[in-house]
């Protein structure tokens, strides 16, 4: 019998693609790109690439193509940097257009930054597959935060609120159940990742971090950098 990890992590990759298609796919098809910021176009392209890399990586590791997995992993880190920068640019552009409130922008900035950091932590643990896989899964929760919000909005569940949180944590809750069945006991890592995710989502940490002089100066600086005005 093959190890069930092969199926579980591939399945979560499909989940994230499914959510991203609902959240952004339909809007992307209908968008007038002549009126769109280049940040947004690059963000969309890099993020779509990232989603398919995550799926490919899950397959590569399930077929034990370790060398290819490592090579693609290095390339994907460059794409992750592009995602980070273009997300900041997109958020600033939307803010300058009056399409995003300060709170929403702060949430996006902090969310993507946490996703970026958790991904690097996962890379740090790349030689420990158990931790690496689970941390990548948690990183995806943060990286796909906006997609989940949009998907919930499209499905009529509301772009903010409890539905978004529930939808965000489905992969982590699945992970905890999966580990419980696989190891016959509750594993700490999954629970810790879920608790951290919930704490970040429920505490309004983005607002706490950025709704102050430092945060406003930071966003003003980013606005100048990406848009050229504040």
């Amino acid at each position: 019998m093959t190890h069930p990890d092969r199926n579980f992590f591939v399945l979560t990759a499909y989940w994230y693609i499914f959510i991203s298609i609902i959240g952004f796919g339909f809007a992307a098809l209908r968008r007038d790109y002549s009126q769109t910021s280049s940040f947004l176009i690059l963000h969309g392209l890099s993020f779509t690439t990232w989603m398919f890399i995550y799926l490919t990586q899950s397959y590569l590791i399930s077929y034990r193509k370790i060398k290819w997995h490592m090579l693609l992993g290095k390339i994907s880190m460059l794409i992750l940097v592009v995602i980070l920068i273009t997300t900041y640019g997109t958020v600033m552009w939307k803010m300058s257009e009056g399409r995003k409130s300060f709170e929403e922008s702060a949430g996006n900035i902090v969310g993507i930054t946490i996703g970026f950091i958790v991904t690097w932590v996962a890379v740090y643990f790349r030689k420990q597959p158990y931790k690496h896989k689970r941390m990548m899964l948690a990183a995806m929760v943060f990286l796909t935060g906006a997609a989940v919000q949009r998907a919930c909005g499209f499905l009529g569940l509301g772009a903010t609120g409890i539905a978004v949180i529930i939808m965000s944590i489905i992969p982590l809750v699945s992970l905890i159940i999966y580990d419980l069945l696989l190891f016959g006991k509750l594993k700490k890592l999954g629970v810790i990742l879920l608790l951290i995710t919930l704490a970040i989502n429920l505490s309004g940490i983005s607002y706490l971090l950025l709704d102050n002089d430092f945060g406003r100066a930071l966003i003003d600086g980013m606005m100048k950098l990406f848009i050229g005005t504040n």
């Binding site: 019998m1 069930p4 499909y14 339909f26 209908r30 709170e103 499209f154 499905l155 009529g156 309004g204």
Partner: protein, 177 residues
């Protein structure tokens, strides 16, 4: 707390009374004011909305509580409001005790939707907003019935596949013993 209770009543009533209702004189006046200020708002004249607030009016915008007409005016001055096409629908205008509860929904050209709940009261012969709450709904669903059905089927398929993986994990553990 009083405002919160009234808003709950307004939201529930708007759900139950979404159909057209006969408006009294005061309700018609408020409706006209809403129709007018939305036109001005989307022309970029944000002061028109700010001026409708009472001196001690409160505007609750995405967890920001902005108290006082002056503060609301300043907050609007900083806002780069989109000048786009829109449609709006009054969901509810009704008098409760001495105030009027209003809920309306605005859909912008790119399907972005939000709902405003407002409490209007008479002050010196004029109707003013004592409290308003902005509530983002998100974008109008792009999920038409066939796509929505496809989405549900895919979600069902995902859950089924997840259950299979869970079963495999359990069996794998049993085999390892």
């Amino acid at each position: 707390m009083k405002h919160f209770t009234l808003i709950i009543i307004a939201l529930l009533s708007s759900l139950l009374n979404g159909h057209a209702q006969d408006l009294t004189g005061a309700e018609s006046t408020i409706k006209e004011k809403i129709d007018t200020y939305l036109v001005e708002l989307y022309k970029g004249n944000l002061d028109v909305y700010a001026n409708l607030f009472a001196e001690d009016g409160v505007y609750y915008f995405e967890s920001n509580e902005i108290a006082g007409q002056e503060a609301i005016r300043n907050a609007f001055a900083e806002l780069n409001f989109p000048q786009v096409e829109y449609t709006h629908k009054i969901l509810h205008i009704r008098k409760y005790e001495s105030v009027y509860l209003v809920t309306y929904q605005v859909t912008e050209a790119d399907d972005f939707r939000y709902e405003n709940t407002e409490i209007w009261e008479q002050q010196g012969g004029e109707y003013k907003i004592a409290y308003a709450k902005f509530n983002e709904i998100g974008r109008k669903t792009g999920m038409q019935p066939p796509l929505f059905f496809a989405g549900i089927v895919l979600f069902g398929f995902f859950l089924f596949a997840l259950l299979l993986v869970f079963r495999k994990a359990k069996n794998y553990k049993a085999l390892k013993k």
